[in-house]
């Protein structure tokens, strides 16, 4: 019984982190119908940047993390201006391919700038896991959970309550109509990419102590974030987090009970099952058209 609860807790811990990665993907999809395939690499870049500040330059952890987030914001700004803006309004495929170009360039630059070796990254809250009635809870995961809840609340407030958030949603519904109503597409696009790059940067920094810094360390997490977003219906912020939790828990049990060959198949299976049975995701109100 205790083992089972421990599995559940570990699963939830990972799951909320996947959900957090999914949030940034959903935000971009919600506002521009695009998928950002450079998200993992952009997040990792912020992780490396924070490492440079904290470990190499000796900045306090929190200040270094803020520095990493600031660099992520600048990165988001640059990516939007150089890769995304020029193809705004082009077929969706062009936009998505632009993110592949960004991924290719940034991955290459990360390797040139930071090298290929594995680097340990200090945790924000050093110390042993908490023991809650015999169930161990990692300190990093407590932080990730708090951050996720804060970001989820912040985004929900931004999109539902602020004028700018409503403009973003209008933009997603009908870019042309939104423009006619005086919503500047460039500003919306820029804001969305900066916000999602910062969220990505936060995930990159929070995951660095758990996975160690190495090339492509966010790739696997990124794919699980995608899975979380698909399970959540890709337009629902809360859905992404719930989708992440579901994936995390299933994964914890799969690693324990399924043959080792098959456990990594879980994200794929989950995506396929959701697309087959409930293509709108488990929580989405939006319509996905079948053909």
């Amino acid at each position: 019984m205790r083992d089972s609860i421990q599995l559940l807790v570990s699963g939830l811990q990972n799951g909320i982190a996947y959900g957090l990665v999914g949030l940034a993907l959903v935000l971009i999809y919600k506002t521009s119908r695009a998928l950002n395939f450079a998200q993992g690499t952009m997040a990792a870049f912020a992780g490396y940047a924070a490492y440079e500040l904290i470990v190499v330059n000796g900045w306090p952890w929190l200040l270094g993390a803020l520095g990493g987030m600031a660099i992520a914001a600048v990165l988001g700004l640059g990516v939007e201006r150089l890769a995304i803006r020029p193809v705004l309004g082009a077929p969706l495929l062009s936009l998505v391919i632009a993110t592949l170009a960004v991924d290719s360039m940034l991955a290459n630059y990360t390797q040139l700038r930071f090298g290929t070796d594995v680097k340990p990254f200090p945790s924000v809250w050093e110390g042993d896991d908490f023991d809650v009635l015999g169930i161990s809870v990692g300190r990093s995961y407590v932080v990730i959970t708090l951050v996720t809840v804060a970001i989820l609340g912040g985004l929900a407030y931004l999109l539902q309550r602020t004028g700018f958030g409503i403009a973003m949603r209008a933009f997603a519904d009908d870019q042309f109509a939104a423009e006619l109503m005086g919503i500047p597409p460039a500003r919306v696009s820029r804001a969305v990419w900066v916000i999602s790059a910062v969220i990505g940067g936060i995930t990159g920094i929070l995951f660095a102590p758990l996975l160690f810094l190495q090339l492509g360390y966010m790739a696997g997490v990124f794919i699980k974030g995608f899975t979380a977003a698909v399970v959540g219906g890709f337009t629902s912020l809360g859905g992404s987090v719930v989708g992440g939790l579901l994936l995390g828990v299933l994964e914890a049990y799969a690693i324990k009970y399924a043959p080792a060959e098959w456990a990594p198949m879980l994200p794929l299976l989950l995506i396929l099952v959701v697309l087959l049975v409930k293509p709108n995701g488990l929580f989405s109100r939006g319509e996905v058209r079948r053909v």
Binding site: V96, N108, I223, A260
Partner: protein, 645 residues
């Protein structure tokens, strides 16, 4: 049709950019043979480089079909390469089946894995395939590390010699053989109904569905074909590197493959070849740059998607066009007229009854060579006689009972019931936002509706769009929904998709029955275009034509689907009234001859009252009148709806 039309057929079926298919295929094959005889004499390292280009070009051919033509993205093609590579290691080391056995296993497994991922994701519109294949690529690589019996785990597996029967072959032999076969098969798919259907789906999906194209099935076909070709590429990859290890098959490789095709030119086989040569050849030529490959490819990609979506091929075409124009001083229009004359001469042998028209065209050429004005004037007049065309079918009664459409809380169409008799010309009028187009969408199945819709004895209510088209529904679009980059002939052939039938395997080898079906289809298309006065522009890009001609192309596409009821959505809008009259009269002559029903949405009340037998008026989703045109004009509610609102 005689062979006179044949060489023209090849040219006309062409999209811009499908280069190998544009130039006669035989040149491609000869070029390949020459390349083969040269490469054979190279050093073994250079042969390895050439074979690498060849194997990536094979993978690229599949991605042209998937990414460039069908507009779907795969980020998991590394998995199919892995399937091919490990098929090669296992079959070559453990059986005596040789290369054919390796290929067969690679094909079966890649297509099966492809179907597993493709079937659920391709039913949905959007880029779900990219997400599904991304997860496939990730999971696949983990499986390779873990499944040691088959893959040898992280240590990898060796591969045996390339053997067909009892003879040994070199890597270059096998690569050129498979490259030739793959390119021939794919180029045939590109010029046949498969390529046409995929292009149509990518450029205007609702229109493609409205002529009965099986969207999901065609996409799955494109994906299976591209998975299979990646599998074949994987077999060659194994023989090229001799030891296959899992770390090769990561997501980066999948992305790299897509980048390769887009750099080369995503809509042509030449593009696949150029892309492969570029990404394999560049690091060979400039070893210092190898560390920067990601930066270089990414930067090139960013520039290309903005300035030349057709990649290096598109860039080459632009340069060639500029150089040609400068050198010869002959502009495109003149060359076009010359081609027209050639084509007309060829057609003359077929149908002597267009002699007069050809004489006219020649006169145009003689008097005003290169004079665009004359050409356009010629194109806007309706010409020719309709005698030979027998496209439309006798109508059936269309019965709507309590049809309702709601979007969220808004009811766009409320409880509409009426019957359009067989052969009737029915008008549907009403103010903007009355729900007219929504009703069309409900009837054709593009929008979900409640209530019942019956056509003849068929209850359409439970049927898919495609089944409704098969039952006899054909329609045009208010926004035209033309297919970007395709010619009027292509549009007609897209419309005729259900009637130009042949087996996809026959299409791949361009079996004589396929060639004949295509020739006949093109002849039909030319007849129909002649009837609508589009002969002069039959081979130009439809989406760049003047608006009035674009409208005719939309109507031509609908007619080519051989409807029993033709549903025209604002056919006169945007046209001068004499032209609108001419277009409608031309279409109605055709439909009256066959007894086809017609339903017209129109704001031009004069036109409606002139041509319609019966008129229905919608206002705010409700049917407020159903009467003869003369009575409609007297109806107070109708006048109120139009003038009072």
């Amino acid at each position: 049709m005689s062979e006179a039309l044949a060489p023209r057929t090849d040219r006309t079926l062409q999209q811009r950019g499908l280069d190998l298919a544009r130039s006669p295929r035989i040149y491609g094959i000869v070029a390949l043979l020459i390349a083969y005889s040269i490469v054979r004499t190279w050093s073994s390292y250079d042969q390895f480089v050439a074979a690498s280009i060849g194997l990536y070009a094979i993978v690229g051919a599949g991605l042209v079909l998937l990414v460039g033509v069908s507009g779907q993205l795969s980020l998991g093609h590394a998995a199919f390469l892995a399937v091919g590579a490990y098929s090669a290691t296992n079959i070559s080391m453990e059986t005596g089946w040789g290369l054919p056995g390796e290929i067969a296993v690679a094909l079966v497994v890649s297509i099966a894995v492809g179907a597993l991922v493709g079937l659920p994701s391709l039913r949905l519109s959007g880029l779900y395939l990219a997400v599904g294949t991304l997860a496939l690529g990730f999971a696949g690589q983990q499986l390779l590390y873990n499944w040691e019996e088959v893959t040898g785990g992280g240590f990898g597996e060796s591969v045996g010699d390339i053997q067909i029967g009892n003879r040994l072959y070199t890597l270059v032999d096998a690569t050129f053989l498979l490259l030739g076969i793959s390119f021939v098969l794919v180029s045939n798919l590109l010029r046949g109904r498969t390529g046409r259907a995929l292009n149509a789906i990518r450029t205007a999906e609702p229109a493609a569905r409205a002529v009965g194209i099986e969207v999901a099935r065609r996409r799955v076909l494109a994906f299976s074909m591209s998975s299979a070709l990646a599998g074949v590429g994987g077999v060659l990859y194994a023989h090229a590197v001799s030891r296959v290890t899992p770390e090769t098959f990561n997501v980066d490789l999948s992305i790299f493959l897509v980048i390769m095709v887009i750099i080369g030119g995503q809509r042509s086989l030449l593009g696949a070849l150029l892309g492969a040569a570029f990404v394999v050849g560049l690091p060979e030529q400039f070893r210092d740059l190898q560390d920067y490959d990601g930066l270089i490819y990414g930067a090139i990609l960013l520039v290309l998607i903005q300035f030349s979506p057709d990649g290096l091929v598109g860039l080459g075409q632009k340069i060639v066009a500029v150089v040609r124009r400068r050198r010869s001083g002959v502009d495109d229009e003149e060359a076009m007229i010359e081609r027209e004359v050639e084509a007309a001469m060829a057609a003359l042998e077929e149908s002597p009854d267009i002699v007069g028209e050809i004489a006219e065209r020649e006169a145009v050429v003689v008097e005003g060579a290169g004079d665009v004005e004359v050409d356009e004037v010629e194109a806007t007049a309706f010409t020719g006689s309709a005698g030979r065309l027998d496209l439309t079918l006798p109508g059936l009664p269309l019965r709507l009972t309590d049809v309702e459409v709601s979007y969220g809380g808004v009811r766009a169409v409320e409880g509409v019931s009426f019957t359009v008799a067989a052969g009737e010309v029915a008008g549907l009028i009403g103010p903007n936002g009355a729900g007219k187009t929504t009703l069309f969408n409900a009837i054709t199945g593009l929008t979900k509706a409640t209530g019942s819709i019956a056509f003849g004895d068929t209850d359409l209510t439970p049927l898919s769009v495609r089944r409704r088209v098969a039952a006899g529904l054909g329609r045009t679009f208010q926004n035209l929904s033309l297919h970007e980059g395709m010619t009027p002939i292509d549009h007609v052939l897209v419309g005729a998709h259900r009637h130009v039938r042949y087996n996809t395997f026959a299409e791949m080898v361009w079996w004589p029955t396929v060639a004949r079906a295509e020739r006949e289809a093109v002849a039909m298309a030319l007849d129909l275009l002649e009837l609508l006065g589009l002969t002069e522009v039959a081979r130009e890009r439809a989406d760049l034509l003047p608006y009035d001609l674009q409208k005719r192309v939309d109507v031509a596409r609908a007619l080519a689907s051989r409807p029993r009821i033709l549903m025209l959505d604002e056919p006169a809008a945007g046209l001068p009234s004499d032209e609108a009259d001419a277009l409608i009269d031309r279409v109605l002559t055709l439909t009256r001859a066959s007894g086809t029903s017609v339903m017209i949405i129109e704001h031009n009340v004069e036109l409606v009252s002139r041509v319609c037998d019966q008129v229905r008026v919608l206002d705010a989703g409700l049917l407020i009148a159903d009467a003869r045109p003369a009575e409609i004009l007297q109806d107070e509610r109708v006048v109120e709806a139009y003038l009072g609102g």
